[in-house]
């Protein structure tokens, strides 16, 4: 460059500033990568322990076994020292309770979303929405306590008064509490979805002389269906992964049953009961919790990915 004068926009401290900015930039990227690291950490730590588990127990016995009774042997020559690690009763129990929860939450959540989005005056909306948000914000341990304290005895009493045998920790009690917990989730997601259906479709239907109910049932709901099904999938995934309600209200009995009045147990309950208290990280009992964990992670992940794809596709359609 020789004797050319330095142009005024060539800064002499550029390299120093650049270095500082580079450090900040790296810090920012690192932070964003923490989220990725968490996912990798989850997958690897679960897979690592689950791998040890499957060295002890074959995956066929795990996936297709119908008996779950994880014991640690006190003496090595004890009868049944291995325990049984058949996951089916847990899967069926989880699905049963989730199904009860969804059977309650879907109609309630959808009906309230429709009311909020289409009928409620702004004033009513401003009262009802926060109420539902409170319902969503109450910790699940509170729902669990309430289910065990009030709902389960109530169902038992009602059952026995009409001559039905009801377990004291019935799937129904846990399912009802979980269902109510999920109502706000479904209603707020569906409310958003219904609101994003364009007003012009409503106008077209009203312009033809349809009543509001006809417009909602025949135009708005079909148009919103993909978005709503996405929200139901997300809700199902929440139900499957929910822990405290079932720990407190569903109990430990690994019965292979689809009767809502029986006591059943779930994947999450077993993870908690296997890992609270003393643990040895070489026993099949402790390691089985990680096999359950990776199963839970995979199932909820698949549900979420599908749900998010559906919802994203739905939004692009009307944006």
């Amino acid at each position: 460059m020789g004797n050319l004068p330095t142009a005024p926009f060539v800064s002499s401290n550029k390299t120093r500033r650049r270095l500082g900015e580079f450090v900040v930039y790296v810090l920012l990227i690192t932070s964003a990568l923490v989220a990725v690291a968490v996912t990798i950490g989850i997958v690897f730590s679960l897979a690592f322990e689950a791998y040890h588990f499957f060295q002890l127990i074959s995956w066929q016995d795990f996936l297709f076994g119908t008996k779950w009774s994880p014991q640690t042997a006190i003496r090595s020559d004890q009868v049944g020292a291995e325990g049984s690690f058949g996951v089916l009763p847990l899967v069926v129990g989880t699905l049963l309770i989730s199904a009860i929860a969804m059977a309650i939450a879907t109609p309630l959540g959808l009906a309230s979303a429709i009311y909020l989005a289409e009928y409620a005056t702004p004033r009513a909306r401003s009262i009802i929405k926060p109420m539902l948000e409170i319902l969503a914000g109450i910790p699940t341990v509170v729902y669990g306590f309430f289910a065990a304290l009030m709902i389960a005895p109530f169902i038992r009493m009602t059952g026995s008064s009409i001559g039905l045998e009801v377990a004291s920790e019935s799937a129904l009690a846990a399912g009802i509490a979980m269902g109510i917990m999920i109502v706000p989730l479904i209603s707020s997601l569906s409310d958003d979805v219904i609101n994003s259906v364009p007003q012009s479709l409503r106008d077209a239907s009203y312009g033809l002389g349809a009543t509001q109910a006809e417009t909602i049932r025949k135009v708005i709901l079909p148009a919103a269906l993909p978005g709503i099904s996405g929200s139901l999938l997300l809700a199902t995934s929440t139900a499957i992964g929910e822990t405290m309600i079932v720990v407190m209200a569903a109990g430990m009995a690994a019965n292979l049953s689809v009767n809502p009045l029986d006591a059943v147990t779930t994947v999450t309950v077993q993870i908690v009961s296997l890992l609270t208290g003393d643990q040895e990280f070489d026993s099949a009992k402790t390691l089985s919790a990680f096999a359950l964990g990776i199963m839970l992670f995979c199932v909820t992940l698949v549900l979420n990915v599908i749900a998010q794809k559906i919802v994203k596709h739905f939004r692009e359609q009307y944006d």
């Binding site: 920012l28 109450i138 499957i240």
Partner: protein, 419 residues
Amino acid sequence: MTNSFTDITPSLRRRHARETRFKWMGKIAIIIAVSFLLVMVGSIAWLGSGALKQTRVQLNVHLDAAQIDAAAVADANYGKLIKTALLDRFPEVTKRRDKKSLYGLVSYDAAYALHDRVVAEPGLIGQDLRMWFVASDDLDMLIKGNLETTGDENRRRFSDKQLGWINSLKEEGAIKSVFNVAFFTTGDSREPELAGVLGAFVGTAFTLLVCFCLSFPIGIMAAIYLEEFAKKNRWNDLIEVNINNLAAVPSIVFGLLGLAVFLNVFGLPRSSPLVGGMVLALMTLPTIIIAARAALRAVPPSIREAALGIGATQIQTVFHHVAPLALPGMLTGAIVGMARALGETAPLLMIGMVAFIVDIPGSVVQPATALPVQIFLWADSPERAFLEKTSAAIIVLIVFLILMNLVAILLRNKYSQRF
């Protein structure tokens, strides 16, 4: 076909009836959800309100100088003095079993309270001391009207004879209810009448502190990167998808991660708020990132253009101009995330914050429990008196939650009209 639009034909009437029914379905759904909320919160509040009161019993204790060695005041058997005081008050009680149930009227704590009093005032030795002692949980429940007093004696906690003693104490004004300060100032206890929430509360506070200190800076930096710097490419898409999915991973899975990595690999202290906070931070991170990105998006591009236009670098633009404007929104998101973390129980069970801990934790590496876990533990206890404590702890938790949300709402309202 007639098309007169004032004539309500049967078909129209049917359609309008259907309309009304449809509308009512929505109303009923909301009524069910809201009334469940009211019943749940209402019944828990009603149950828990009892825990605000504590029953006390007044006894006349003779501080026999023969029993208390003036040289070693602290070593005397104060339990025996309490028992003697009870027997002096009810001289008719002679049978072994009756004596035992008589002693059961006051709490364990009575001996300690007496001990503290005498150690503080050794001059009392040799005198008679009238003092109020904490009643046992059974007596407390009885006074609060939670126990049966009629019907089959064998199925009741108190026999008629015992009720007689209690009535005579009542008549002479030796039983009273006071505000239960201990509930808010002590840690957990095996004895329901002595159990308090302070230990769990402090544990929760430490846990949330750790959680906030980790997740807030990382969360906003990640959000700044994704919103302001990241180019649209496959890697950044992957990060985004990953964050969205992480937000929906069941909380117990984060607990498993904490157990396998933080405890087993890194060897961090089990049951400590440090590990609890770290696990909750990972769980809260997606919420904070998503909220922070929304806050950054709400800053109008004109501000970025203005800063870049006067020669600021992109990093200066973001840190001097954009991020400060987005800060209230980010903070609101973080508080909402914290409020969710506050109620989380399952991941804390995984990392051992479920132990019985009496002491109030003094730092983030000491064993502790947290409010929701305390609720879980108490809910599992068979004593009737713990039902009241559980409900009261839930109220404390919910009040804490409401306060946090209130802060978030105030923050949002204060700063929302800026652009």
